[in-house]
Amino acid sequence: MPGHVVPKRIYFFIFGSLLALTALTTGMAYVNLGQWNTIVALVIACCKATLVVLFFMHLRWSPRLMRVVLLSALLWLAILISLTTTDFFSRDWTPIPEGWESSLLRPPTASGNLLYRR
């Protein structure tokens, strides 16, 4: 029989952990952690995704080839998100040369975010 038959209790344990993490992330949303709210929510989401991938999707027992495919997908996702965000969020680091200002751009606000005029 090809493939690894996973004991039932492992599935139920992962299921319980996923429900507990869902309750935790929902609860944490009501605690004021400032900017850390986003980080905590994303870290918990990554933990849940890891549990699903390793146990429900059997990656823990899969050949290395499957892990390479997943890691390459994550690498490309990281390139997509990091290069796009670094472009957007580093635009106000250097002054815009004289005569190059966009009519749409206002100076960066105190919060550091670029805000476009409607």
Partner: protein, 218 residues
């Protein structure tokens, strides 16, 4: 095992069942890698625009119902468990358990879509938060809130479309399982459908906090 059943389960281009099993899983993993990029574009766009129009995105997030979002997350996690148990039943050749777990998974998937449709989308539409169809909200950050709801409807909509496709695939598997197509040597279709189903679950695991939770609810 070289009995007649194993021989018929093995396609001639493969050395053995193990290799055939790996090839099927690898194909699905590569498809899922393309799906990561598909949803990744939406997530990248959401990240950029959320940072550009943060107050509007936080206000928009407040209009969503966290309880229903969390309930739907739980429904999807339950469906992932029943799917994993369905694959296990197929591996062990338990036909009745496989049929039962597939029915449960389909029912939970439909429950997710129904909750989304009736309790959330319909509500958002009636409240005037549906960009392009019925967006009547006026007030502070109205345009950024409209942008948030564009992302909300697109991301949850595309996710729900994946659920509908998954339910369709599971219905086909259910008929085949009922007819006794699957067994310890022949369950690759169930396994790969399971990989797809769990992936759709993972997408929701990220959508839930990004859309519902990080809008400063305290």
């Amino acid at each position: 095992m070289a009995d007649s059943h194993a021989a018929s389960a093995l396609a001639h281009q493969f050395e053995d069942l193990e290799q055939q099993h790996e090839a099927a899983s690898l194909g699905m993993w590569i498809f899922l890698a393309t799906e990561v990029m598909f949803f990744g574009g939406l997530f990248a766009g959401y990240t950029i625009y959320r940072n550009l129009y943060l107050p509007g995105f936080e206000a928009g997030s407040h209009m969503l119902n966290v309880t229903i979002g969390a309930l739907n997350t739980a429904v999807l996690i339950c469906s992932s468990l029943t799917m994993a148990l369905a694959v296990r039943a197929a591996q062990m050749g338990k036909r009745h358990a496989l049929v039962a777990f597939l029915i449960l998974t389909i029912a939970l998937g439909l429950a997710f879509i129904l909750i989304k449709l009736t309790l959330e989308w319909r509500h958002d539409y009636l409240e005037g938060f549906a960009p392009g169809v019925n967006f009547t909200f006026v007030g502070l950050n109205a345009k950024s809130i409209q942008l948030f709801f564009c992302f909300y409807f697109l991301m949850t909509g595309v996710h729900a479309l994946h659920m509908v496709v998954g339910v369709g695939v599971l219905c086909v598997l259910l008929v085949q399982a009922w007819k006794g197509h699957f067994g310890p040597e022949r369950y690759n279709a169930v396994e790969t459908a399971g990989l797809y189903w769990h992936f759709v679950d993972i997408v929701w695991i990220f959508l839930f906090p990004l859309l519902y939770l990080i809008g400063g609810r305290y």
